[in-house]
Amino acid sequence: MISKKTTAIFLLLFLFTIFFSFSSSAQNTQIKGFADVLTSYQNGKASFGFDEQDLFITSELTDRISFLGESVFKYTPSSPTEFSVSIERLIIKYNFQGNNNLILGKIHSPINYWNNTYHHGRVFYPTIERPLLFAAEIIPLHTTGISLQGHDFGKLRFGYDVVVGNGLGSAAVADNDKRKSVTVAAHIKPIDELYLGVSWYNDAVSKGATVMDKVIGWKVNQNLFTGSIAYFGKKFELLTEGTLGIDKTDTTGSKNTLAAYLYTGYKVTEKLIPYIRLDDLQYQNGEIYFTKDNTTSVIAGLRYQINYLAVVKLEFQHQHAELEGNTNSITAQFAVGF
């Protein structure tokens, strides 16, 4: 009969084994994060604040399986603590052949360059905040589902994404209807500095679904067509993207929305980059899925790259919106990676 002492020793050894095996497997796990603080001046008032605090974890589980998780802590007025945690990405990737991967989980929809490249890492953003088409929720930022992804094929370094997901109106853990969203994206990188991409997104939003904090009263068939050009050279930077959204309902027919932005910067030195960004959102009369608010914006800014983990930006923005009229603001941001 095994004594209690022997059992305790075995248990202790077992725990030690588990601990050390975890420690050794954790060697390929990395935790990184991003945060930023802001100060802004608008309507005669100065304010201090901060954006999200972003943590991301990457882990190599086997030769072919890897994990990436991204969690964001952010200000949420409706929360009792005024803050909430959201899972922005939860990706299990299986590299099945060469540069081809099968991806399961919640991803940033590979619809445009900005969404697919910068995510929540504001230290990477060329401007303080994302283009207006993000705030207007023209493109679905996340998709939970399954995708095939490949990159850097041939001389043009062709890449692709094919995603099938729950779609708009779904919760993070389940779909709200039978219809799935489909995203097909392709890009090439003819030279190191240049990226050219196109994408197509299709979904049907069910009647009664909650999207963008409002209940959709009609079934909406949505198609989004996006084109992207990104050039980040030694001196000159250019990033321009445009999305044509076609929303179709039985009552209103097809309505088009055009959302675009153009960013350009010039490296005076390796660390100092003055830049401008122009945004334009145009909705067709009768649009009922998006909130119709034709908006134009001009941003002039200066970015100082202290090092790859710290950047300071100063911006002036003039915005004209159909609903809010003209606004002018000055904002400074200190963004870091850690």
């Binding site: 990184k32 990457t58 990405r89 590299n95 060469g98 697919n116 490249t117 890492g121 990477f124 990159h151």
Partner: protein
Amino acid sequence: MMEMKRTRRYKQVIFTKFFFVAILFFCAFTATSQTSSLTVISNQKGAPSTLNFSQLKSIFMGEQQRWRSGTKITIALMKTNTPAGKNTSETIYGMSADELNKFWLALVFQGKTSAPNFFNSASELENFVAQNPGAIGIVDQVAANDDIKTVQVEGKKL
């Protein structure tokens, strides 16, 4: 006559001085080239013995995930604050040390590839490459090790 001799003498002195300056420049350049030379090393399993420069760059940019044999490519680099690391940033990537760090952070954040393994010394990097099938790295000095091989780039050392 005296004037011609003086001119000839003056020309000889100038030529001698120029010759010595040229020799000095040559020696300085040679010394710099020697200290800045890089060598690509790999584990015996995985990398081919010869690569051209565009293949090498593609591998070190994270654009190729596996060798033809199917072995996963693992990149080993000297830290960018070491002379060899700075030299690698400029020679292979055409980037400053800071740009290289940002490049890799962005790529890993996008979930496109695994982060390279960075080392403080050539011997640490060499040991890592020796112990990991599919590993490839760049160093400025190589000690004899049966578990690694030197990869020729464009038919010669880098």
